[in-house]
Amino acid sequence: MKHVLKIFSLLLVISALWIGLLQASILPQSHTWLLPIYFIVSLGCYGLLMVGVGLMRFPTCPQEALLLQQDIAEAKGFLKQSGVDVGCK
């Protein structure tokens, strides 16, 4: 519940800032109307960027993969000895 409250308060602050900007007329009005859409689009872009960067830096650990394959072979052999049916998938 607390995280939702934090997000909600952040949204409230941003909308208050936006309405204040509208009233004070520092920037031209048509500009200020476009700001929320711009922020939503940039947020989506940022999410996509994080996904792409995470994909690029994903570690594959080749040594652990090898050890895992050895463990699997060892376990299969042991279970076959004990009579358990190990279906090779």
């Binding site: 048509s30 859409i37 711009y38 689009v41 940039s42 872009c45 996509l48 792409g52 994909l55 594959t60």
Partner: protein
Amino acid sequence: MELADRAVGFLLSFISLSIFTYYTFWVIILPFVDSDNFIHNYFLPQEYAILIPVCAGVVLLCLLCMFIGFVMLKSKKKMA
């Protein structure tokens, strides 16, 4: 396998960065540029800057609802 992952990740980040710069240019920088500058030929009229994200958002919402509906129907069919 790892190269394919890297290529997809690079493509995604490239797409997102290009969309971000194009949209920033469109919404923030272009209104401050004179009307008869050559750069206006490369950008669509400003109404599309609102239309395209809204349409994309509506399409995304529809696809999401359809997907949820499909999954619910499939699970109900399996139970019956």
